[in-house]
Symmetry: C2
Subunit: 339 residues, 2 copies
Amino acid sequence: MSTRVGRYTILLDTHPTITGYAGVVGKKEGEGPLGNCFDAIYDDDTLGEASWEKSESTLQREAVIRALDKANRSPAEVDIILAGDLLNQCIGTTYGIRELNIPFLGLFGACSTMALSLSVGGMITEAKLAGTVVAATSSHFCSAERQFRYPLEYGGQRPPSAQWTVTGAGAAVINADAPDPGKPHIAAVTLGRIVDMGVRDANNMGAAMAPCAASTIEDFLKDTKTQPGDYDAIITGDLGMIGAELLLELLQKRGIDLSPVHQDCGTLIFDLNTQGVEAGGSGCGCSGSVICSYFMQKLERRELSNILFAGTGALMSPTASQQGESIPGICHLVQLCMD
Amino acid sequence: MSTRVGRYTILLDTHPTITGYAGVVGKKEGEGPLGNCFDAIYDDDTLGEASWEKSESTLQREAVIRALDKANRSPAEVDIILAGDLLNQCIGTTYGIRELNIPFLGLFGACSTMALSLSVGGMITEAKLAGTVVAATSSHFCSAERQFRYPLEYGGQRPPSAQWTVTGAGAAVINADAPDPGKPHIAAVTLGRIVDMGVRDANNMGAAMAPCAASTIEDFLKDTKTQPGDYDAIITGDLGMIGAELLLELLQKRGIDLSPVHQDCGTLIFDLNTQGVEAGGSGCGCSGSVICSYFMQKLERRELSNILFAGTGALMSPTASQQGESIPGICHLVQLCMD
């Protein structure tokens, strides 16, 4: 049974097992440094669909189906699918998984959705409320660009602090009562609080999200009475280059040195020098695809055995920004381990 | 500990208690048949805010604060808040609860969000993953109208099948290990599957959602081997007049007669003859405000002692509709009882 430690952290004592996982991406992501880790790279970013929103839906469904295949399970064996995305009314998810006929627990966590779905999925399997669940999310550069920024054809200028929405999706199958020393498990979760430090620049999401990452990582370390050095890696979702620097600075001021173990999915997925993505990757599918391929594989190969994944999200909308609102951030954390 | 019965239903054997609840609404809802049940009626629908989106956020925060007050708890005592809404990127929720500093589990269930938040909140407290959680949601006629339909100033025509988005919010405080024979508890939950029967008319949400309500209600009755007559009421979220008729018809064909016990929050909250709301109320705040006032009060007064709340949601977006997509529906069910 789960144990609460400190104020915010829940230890999942039965170690819900990640029996299958998949990360799928578009062409540009496939050409990046992690290109050889993904389960599928779609050279045609439309995935054969008539709209970018439908392409994103197909991308998410592909990740789910591949993760289920690798877990050797069919959709009919899944008790709950936990998923969400950043398209208005989460249509990347709802149309993506519509045909799977699985009870659907819809989540909203902006770019932290992979961490949120792993967290809640872990909690639910830990408690035996479900035997098999799937956690999933997606984003698509073209559906995000036209919804959040400019029509694609406009070719809007991008400041150096901007991030590039990843065309990608991630999915993980989580099982109760399926201990397997060859598979990663979820050892603990910390659900984050909303943190808003007043950043208003929608082209600088890294700065808006760094404070919430600092808050949740600090909560977890305090609750568990551990240090950054106790982990092989502490991985943020999509802070990008600017947000990552700010995170290290914020935690340094609180006496926590994250620099030896910090990595960020947004700076890993692209080559920031050559791929023209400014400060790095972003979007639900950024950490979704990187965690559900590169990092899960590293765990399974035991190159890493104890990592923290702190998924970050900016809870803004274009409407809120137009109304002069600042950007609240949220960060959910999951601890992933090998036995 | 929880027990799974049948394929889709989870019995919450420890009976998580609803220790506080509040429903708050706007002027028009206050003038309706349930006017004397609500915790607050805002004659000024702006709630003093500069935009309709901010008004909705304030409405949701008001519901949360009032529910906490009635449960005699402060935000600092809450382990998790589970909430969502239908504004793009759920800003009704994120800006509404931003200042409360409570770990935030964001949900997306369209108009089924109150049922989803009660379901997941019940599951989490049942499993002792949290001691105190808050479930909440909101909608606002003016923020919904301009996001989903037309600018308010345009005065768009409404067909008879259209529904009127409720300006309202609901919140409930759910506690583990706080048995109280004077308070309602959550006895069971059934998370719904997405059902899409091909309805494409965004002005006929009732028809789009009736099939998912039929599916989840049938799942629950089968799983628990019970009949409609075993319950004092089976309440749908916001099917409205047309959707409610369709639901009865769909279930009749499957040999289930819901008519003696069926009620719908969307037809209860307004006087359909005099208030000019066409087929009835809708929006996350429709069932949110009605369940968290009228029905919880009826339970507490023991006028009802065993009810099913089947919250219904249409998982469409304007973008999906413009692309010719049909409207997928979802329905989540919670059983609310008095000991």
